[in-house]
Symmetry: C2
Subunit: 125 residues, 2 copies
């Protein structure tokens, strides 16, 4: 008998927390957006996502693959050729993340203005 799991990221020990953290991680969000534009190879992703190290990209992709968000297709050739794409679930998560992105673009002026106002207030005080 399995107990019913109520998934709540507000609970410290909920297994959904790590998943949420993968989806919203620094590199995770960028990778999802890039893959939403289509399949990419490892080094293509690396070039698209500015500043990501090899190690962190590999780590990020593995976490997202394990979570069922990213699909990894290995072509058995030499030199190696690996294609990364979004699963159906990944398209859903990436689309949600894209919502945040779009907001960042649309409202960038508001973010920037708020920051200036905040710093101004602090400097004055």
């Amino acid at each position: 008998m399995e107990s019913v799991h109520v998934v709540s990221p507000f609970d410290v020990n909920c297994p959904s927390r790590p998943v949420m953290e993968h989806l919203s991680s620094r590199w995770g969000v960028l990778v999802q957006i890039v893959l939403l534009r289509g399949t990419h190879r490892f080094n293509e992703l690396r070039r698209e996502v500015g500043g990501v190290s090899e190690k962190m990209l590999a780590q990020t992709l593995q976490a997202l693959e394990r979570d069922g968000v990213v699909h990894r297709l290995v072509h058995p050739v030499i030199p190696p050729h690996v294609d990364y794409s979004l699963t159906e679930l990944g398209v859903r998560t990436a689309t949600a993340v894209r919502g945040l992105f779009d907001l960042l673009f649309e409202r960038w002026e508001d973010f920037a203005t708020a920051q200036e106002a905040y710093d101004e207030r602090k400097a004055r005080a």
Copy 2:
């Protein structure tokens, strides 16, 4: 003459990166969701968001306030009383974040299954 800023989080040095990271940070996402349900005081938030330390909550709230996402209202009384709420911009960002959350709930079985399958494949290999 100001140059036109093209905001691109894919660029290493784009000022939008820190903002994106605040919005998608471990505690940032949880705080936004809680505040979407209404105004909260500091220690109310602390209780709602499981596992967050005083320090990290303060830090998170300050970053979100500076970004124009969270509004901080100080009532000049003793003992202190501070109300945190979302700005209009914050409601927008929090709603986007909520999209990710809802997905996590709706599709939790798929995430869990994917993880098991992945671990199974690895153990086998």
